[in-house]
Amino acid sequence: MNPVFGHRGMPGRRDAVERRVMAIAVVVTAVFVIIVGQLWYLQVLEGGRFLDASDKNRIRIRPIAAPRGILFDRHGTPLVDNRPAFTLSLIPRELPRESASRDAVLGRVASLLRIPYQELQDAVARVQLDSFLPVRVRRGLTLGDVAKVEEWKLELPGVIAEVEPQRVYPTSRFAAHLLGYVREANDDQLRQGRYRRGEMVGQSGLERLLDDYLRGQDGGERIEVDAMGRPVRVIQQSEPHAGAQVITTVDRRIQEATERAMEGNAGAAVVMDPRNGDLLAMVSTPAFALDRFTETIDRNAWLRVVQDPRFPLMNRAVQGQYAPASIFKILVAAAGLQEGSITPADSTHCTGEFRLGNATFRDWKEGGHGTVDLKRAIMHSCNIYFYQAGLKVGVATLLRYASAFGFGASTGIELQGEKFGLVPRPARRGWPLGETVNLSIGQGPVLVTPTQVARFIAAVANGGVLWRPRIVQRIERPDGGLLYSDAGQVNGHVELSPIVWEFLRRSLWAAVNDGGTGAGARIPGLDIAGKTGTAQIIGKSKAALGQDHAWFAAFAPVKDPEVVVVVLAERGGKGGEVAAPIARQILNAIFFEKVAAIEIGG
């Protein structure tokens, strides 16, 4: 018997009304079937989609930005550090799916934080809408902004204020060119596809060179929240992996001293260890403010830096190309002595003028230096002596030596954008002798960078070994694992007789310590050897007087050289008057203990 429609004791008669009740029951049953059909559709056919939607409801992605790797100096002192800062980010997947409500959210953000609406639209337009990866829209939020975002978070799905470590520098211009600035990936970098929009990328210097090491890997949390957006529990967590730590060859103390010494001058200074090619300091002035680039910088401020006629973004230590001027005389002397074209005993009477055909070449000193031998010619930087010496050596040999000492070619330094300078090809015919005369004092068709000069002086100091300038000693993972190490590399050698080296070193010592042009760099008790240079600017006019580039290249101590210091002051004037005192200040800082000991000990 049917348990539902039992007819207990009822007569089998089915009247019309009973049939109507039956019909209603059938209709109700049919409606139930429709409901079951709808449930089948929702739960079985579309269940996966709704499960996704429920996850999207409850799970919030909180990115944890990886701190960028830290750059240390050779003694383990940090050159840059990180500090937490707030960044406004959009999580595309958590933004509303419908474009109208998404626009409403972005509009709310725009008016709340006074960010141009278009900027937000652009940021979203270029990413996949189901992406979990945060799009970093604005850096350097104030605490007030953060509070606003938190307060409105229910009306701002997909909008978060995340903590992102940001670079902090000892001073805003400290080692600006060497370290380089960090900034959001630009359009070109985005087009290469290696970076995401809003990602911080090293744009110059070591930050750019080592970006892959320094960048680290962002982590994140998946947090379950309730309908009020309150976190309930952490579902999944991936730790951020901090970027690798870079131990450079730089000595922060020397770098700072060098920057102080260069203050007020445009130019460059390079401090190098001649024993291994380590760069202890590299300064280019004027410098730019590193931290100005890190935060969102407005267009005008950016253009002011980029279009500054003093080119603050250029790293003059490797990109500035200058006439070597009298520094080149060291090379002429080396070539002449080694090739036997001149001897230390050869002397000339300098009247201040040298005639070659119809042309008259002058000495820098009115009236000349009188009778000078090679050593005195180096000491006093006598042009007349070197005009003759250059002609004796011959242009081909000079240029061969110039190339051998690494001029006109890469030093092998890892910094990007290095300029190679210029050493002309030795032409067999059609080379005017006047050019040879100019070349002999480092003018004319030869250009060098301060780093090339430092490497050259280092070779003089160490007896001919040309080191590849080393900046990065090693790169370590935060846990200590070694990722990269550079033991230094010799990438050139100039073979000269030991007597020649010795002669050059003594002459350069005398230039500083025996009343030569480098007297301005003299520190009693410290045996500094050095050479001045004054690069004339072509097209010399009255207005350009005193607009020469001042060079000074030195090493110390002369017996067992530990450092090479090269200073170039653009339009500074005479090398001996401007560059030598700067070098002296740098050397004083480097050897301050030694100097102090000598002064105390008498």
Partner: protein, 363 residues
């Protein structure tokens, strides 16, 4: 006090009672899983207490002859109307709707209990001498019974309960043998008058109907409930997410989850299979009710049974229909499942009347 006949006890419809008890058990369990702050267990406990109270009422109602209730219908009906009117005077407002009367620690929702009075009144009128034979006169006599409370309830505003009255009345008239042509005419007239009804509706009620027609109209506003309910139900999939995994319900994404949307909570937790079990209980309950109506020997009993069954059936269908997105959202509780004393009491009294009819069908 009550003299209980052995023969009456033999005819108790245990299947009907069992289905009702199973549903209340499911309700209490579901409510217990919902953590509503510190009041989590309290809600389930209160529901259980209301079930106890309702069960006493059920026994009391069942032990009395249903004909006594029908005879008392005019008085009950007027009492109910009075209570509905009283809501306007002393009613407590909850989220913009005046539906409750506060009596000490209790708040009573008169419209819930009124539903039962309404059915009894309709039966009284239909079976009265003046209404015979069934025809347009009957229709004309019964319509005001629905229309007057309709206006009172819709002003509360409580669109769902108000709309409930007409389908129930229709079922009663069909069961009473009114010619379908007459009824059809009335329905057609009613539909033609719908545009007029649009003018009476509150803005939020209009919005809900528009949102039903176009769910993405306002995803954070009116459509939020429907979207969240669908997500909850759908994400339950075939076997459900279990109590701990039912995030839509547990994390409060689902609104009204104790009351009108409790079906979605259950569906998320127990999935399609659980829904089948639940719906089977309801269908069993309703089919027993229709059976009682069909097998009743005299018209009053048949109409009381039919009316009570229709009352439950329409509520179940509208509630589940709206939660699953088949119908627009109107506030109607799911009988025996949704949290609420008035609703529980009304449903159990209705079942008590069904039992009363069944027990006396052979007298």
């Amino acid at each position: 006090m009550l003299r209980i006949d052995r023969r009456l006890l033999q005819n108790v419809d245990w299947a009907l009672l069992a289905a009702a008890c199973a549903l209340v058990l499911i309700s209490v369990m579901t409510l217990a899983t919902l953590s509503v702050g510190r009041a989590g267990g309290v809600v389930a406990l209160r529901q259980a207490v209301w079930f106890g109270v309702g069960l006493l009422a059920l026994v009391a109602v069942a032990s009395l002859d249903y004909r006594r209730f029908v005879r008392a219908a005019p008085a009950l009906y007027l009492l109910g109307l009075g209570a509905l009117a009283l809501v306007w005077v002393v009613g407590r407002s909850v989220s913009g709707a005046r539906r409750w009367i506060v009596l000490g620690p209790l708040s009573v929702q008169p419209s819930e209990l009124f539903k039962v009075c309404f059915v009894l009144m309709a039966v009284w009128v239909i079976t009265s001498r003046g209404a015979q034979p069934m025809g347009r006169t009957t229709l004309a006599m019964t319509l005001p019974i629905a229309a007057v409370p309709f206006v009172l309830i819709i002003k509360q505003p409580d669109l769902g309960t108000a709309l409930l009255l007409f389908p129930v009345l229709m079922v009663l008239l069909v069961g009473a043998g009114l010619r379908l042509r007459v009824l059809g005419g009335a329905v057609a007239t009613g539909l033609a008058a719908l545009p007029l009804a649009w003018l009476v509706l509150k803005d939020y009620q209009r919005e809900r109907i528009l949102v039903f027609l176009d769910p993405v109209r306002d995803p954070l506003g009116s459509a939020y409930n429907v979207i969240q309910a669908k997500i909850a139900i759908g994400s339950g999939q075939f076997l459900g997410k279990g109590v701990a995994g039912a995030t839509q319900s547990q994390l409060a994404f689902l609104p009204e989850r104790h009351t009108d949307f409790i079906f979605a909570v259950f569906a998320e937790t127990w999935g399609f299979v659980g829904c089948l079990v639940l719906l089977t209980c309801y269908l069993l309950l309703l089919l027993r009710g229709f059976d009682i109506a069909g097998s009743a020997r005299e018209p009053v009993g048949r109409l009381v049974a039919l009316g009570m069954t229709a009352l439950l059936a329409v509520q179940v269908v509208i509630n589940v229909g709206m939660v699953t997105g088949l119908l627009p959202v109107v506030g109607i509780p799911l009988p025996l499942m949704s949290y609420g004393g008035s609703s529980m009491l009304a449903s159990l009294v209705a079942i008590g009347l069904l039992l009363s009819v069944r027990m006396r069908q052979f007298q």
